[in-house]
Structures are given as C-alpha cells and as structure tokens.
C-alpha cells in the first residue's frame, strides 16, 4: 500500500529504484506511477538526481585520484630496491648459467685431436718425409698417445688412462708432449669419475712450468669446476 507520509513515500520510491520492494509492492508502486502523474514525476526526479549525484561523486573520486597520483612524489627508494632486486635476479641467473655451462658442458677433446704439431711430426716420420726422425721409443709414445685419444673419442676413458698414465711416468718427454699427455689424462680421469686423480694431474699440469700446450681458458675453467663438482657430488 502506498505510504501516506511524505518521507516514507520518498523512501518507498528509493526502495523501488534500488529494487528492494517485494513483487506485490512493486506491482502496487507501478499502478501508482500510472495513476498519479505527480507521483510519477517526483519518482523520475528522484531517480535522475540520484543517478547524477552518484556520477558526480565518482567524478570527484576520479579527480582526487588523478590529483593524488600527480602529486605523488617519485619513489626513488622503492625504484632503487626494485632495480637492485632485478639486478640481483639477473646476476643470479647469470651465475647459474655460468655454473650450468661449466658443469654440464664437456671439454671438446676432438678439437685437441686435430693438433697438427703432434700429428704432423708423427706422420712425417712414418712417411719417411724429410724432417725430424723419431726413435722407435718416441714412435711408440706417439702411438700410445693417439690410441688414448681414440679411446677417449670412443668413450673408453679407462683404456685411455692406461696409456696416458704410462706416458705420464716417462721423464724424457718434451714439455709440449708432456703437457698434452697430462691434459688428456686429467680429462680421462674426469670422464672416468676419478676427481682426486684429475685434481692431482691438474695441479701437476699447473706446476709444469710455462704453458706450451695450447689449452683454452674456458676448458681450464670447465675441468677445474668439474673436478670440484664431482668431489662435491661424491661427498653429498
């Protein structure tokens, strides 16, 4: 039933606009709208005002928010932290990348197999081409060495170790050949999961005076790290 009190009538209109009237009340309300033009006009005026005021209130919220955002001072500390955080993440990612590379990237021994300094000297002596003659013992050393390289290439580090250890015990080897033997031996140890022997050979190689056998720096780092990695894996 339509309220008789003016205030209650306005509240009734408001409830209708909010959709909080029951179905029966709603029906009565809509009958009143049709029946009473003054009631209908007031109802429309209240609705128009309510919509406008809500919109103006939101517009004010927007204005205030823009003003606040424009007045907000830059946040150097937060940016710095963010920058440091990002920098730290990048650094950590780089370190992990380097560690992964050092850990899982094997030394490419095939590239050392193409060492012309050794192969040419041996071939020339075999083909009887004019050049430095090799003694039978030297020729055996070469053969042992090349066999060891072949074993390594075939994934038989244990066999390679046999040959190379024999060569490493020979005192009369010239420095170039000696370092080549030590380098291949320590790689064979690594492939055979013998980090202690590899470490000892690595130290021998380091102490063998001036480095004449060409070993790339990245390969040196790889074996250095992989020796430690294998030791770590064993103790864990």
């Amino acid at each position: 039933m339509r309220p008789t009190n003016q205030l209650e009538q306005w509240e009734w209109m408001e409830a209708y606009h909010r959709g909080t009237l029951s179905a029966d009340e709603r029906l009565i309300f809509e009958q009143e709208l049709k029946r009473d033009p003054d009631f209908s006009r007031e109802c429309a005026q209240l609705l128009a005002a309510d919509k406008a005021l809500r919109e103006l209130a939101l517009a004010k919220t927007v204005r205030n928010a823009v003003r606040a955002e424009l007045a907000a001072p830059p946040k150097p500390i937060q940016r710095l932290r963010l920058g440091r955080g990002r920098l730290a993440s990048v650094l950590v990612a780089c370190v992990l990348l380097v560690i992964s590379y050092l850990t899982f990237s094997q030394v490419d021994l095939e590239s050392y197999r193409q060492d012309v300094t050794l192969t040419q000297r041996y071939r020339e002596s075999e083909d009887d081409v004019a050049g430095p003659d090799l003694t039978p013992q030297q020729r055996t050393f070469y053969r042992e060495f090349f066999d060891a390289q072949a074993y390594l290439a075939n994934g038989q580090p244990q066999l390679a170790i046999g040959n190379l250890e024999k060569l490493a015990r020979v005192d009369s080897l010239r420095p170039y050949f000696k370092q080549a033997v030590q380098w291949h031996l320590l790689n064979a140890y690594l492939l055979n999961r013998q980090p202690d022997n590899a470490d000892a050979t690595f130290q021998l190689l380091d102490q063998s005076g001036q480095s004449v056998y060409p070993i790339s720096t990245s390969d040196r780092w790889k074996v250095w790290w992989q020796i430690r990695w294998q030791k770590l894996g064993r103790s864990a």
Binding site: L7, E42, L47, A49, L58, V62, A65, E69, L70
Partner: protein, 187 residues
C-alpha cells in the same frame, strides 16, 4: 585489449568508488609521463601537463562509463587515452592561437571525437551548482563522503529525520533541473 587493460576497463566502469579510485591511479600512472612529455615538447608548461592529465583521465573515464568507447581487441587503452589527450591539447593550443606550431605534427587530428561532444558531466555539474549551498553541502556529505544520516544530522545541526527530508527535497529540485522541469520552492 590485453587482460590488464580489461581489468582496468572493468574497474573504471564500476560503481564502486574504491575500484574506480584504484583504476584511476593505475591509468594516471601509466599515462602521466607521456602526457607531460607531449605537453612540454609542444609549447606547454608543467601546469598545463597536470591540467591536461586531469582532463584527459576524467574524459576517458566518462567515455568508458557512458559506453561511447567500446574496448576492441586490436586497440589498447593507452592508445585511446593518447588520442583523447592529443585532441584536447590541440584544442588548448588553438585557443591560444598556436596552431601554427602544430603543423609539423601529422598525427594530430582535428576530427571530432566522442570526447569533444558536450559533456554530460558538465551538465550535471552545472545543475548541481544551481542548488543552494545548504543543499550542496548536504548532498555532498551523503554522496561524496558516504556519511550516515546521523553523522549528517550532527554536521548540519538538525535531526536525522529533518536531514533526510531536506536531502529528498534537494534531490527533487536537482532532478527537476536535470529534467528541465520547473519546481516550486527556493532551494
């Protein structure tokens, strides 16, 4: 439109003040640097940049809310904001008779856009300003500041019931103004 834009769009169109406030902060933060750069590079000042940011964001909010701008998959919200901003700044420069300076900017368009049409917001604002001060204060306390009638009554030094009656009377007057109807009484 990206999902971030979609979230922003939904929040801007919301009736929830807190969501609108959040979205406005986000949008302003995204565009303020570009607007500032554009204004400073085109014979404007820092103050102009702040005013233009204010007007642009408000216009974009009104357009999105009214449905004049429909989000499209291929268009970003930023691009729309920048278009509104460029047109608004062109108008400012025209008013200042500095259009010649703009001939070098091919991307500036003088085509009328939705945001150039008479703003509904301005109409509402004008109608509201025609209310008496007491009415304005009371309605602001209720709609702007979300105060209860008890709090409003305390502020306006009246009973809650009297404040409520006054609020409805003010609303009826405002409604009549908006609907172009004459109303008895002096509000």
């Amino acid at each position: 439109m990206s999902s971030a834009d979609q979230t922003l769009y939904e929040a801007i169109c919301s009736d929830d003040k807190r969501r609108v406030e959040w979205a406005t902060h986000q949008l302003t933060h995204k565009v303020k640097a570009v607007i500032r750069r554009h204004v400073l590079d085109n014979s404007g000042s820092e103050e102009d940049a702040a005013d233009l940011t204010q007007e642009t964001v408000l216009a974009v909010w009104a357009q999105l809310r009214s449905g004049h701008y429909q989000p499209r998959a291929e268009a970003t919200l930023d691009a729309y904001v920048y278009k509104v901003m460029r047109n608004k700044w062109l108008k400012v420069l025209k008013r200042r008779k500095q259009v010649g300076l703009l001939s070098q900017f091919d991307d500036l368009t003088e085509e009328p856009t939705a945001e150039d049409k008479p703003e509904r917001l301005a109409t509402l604002q004008q109608a509201f300003s025609q209310l008496g001060e007491a009415c304005q204060e009371l309605l602001q306390l209720f709609y702007w500041d979300d105060l209860s009638f008890d709090e409003i009554a305390h502020r306006v030094n009246a009973s809650a019931k009297a404040a409520k009656v006054r609020k409805y009377r003010c609303m009826l007057y405002l409604g009549a103004l908006l609907r172009g109807e004459k109303r008895d009484g002096n509000e």
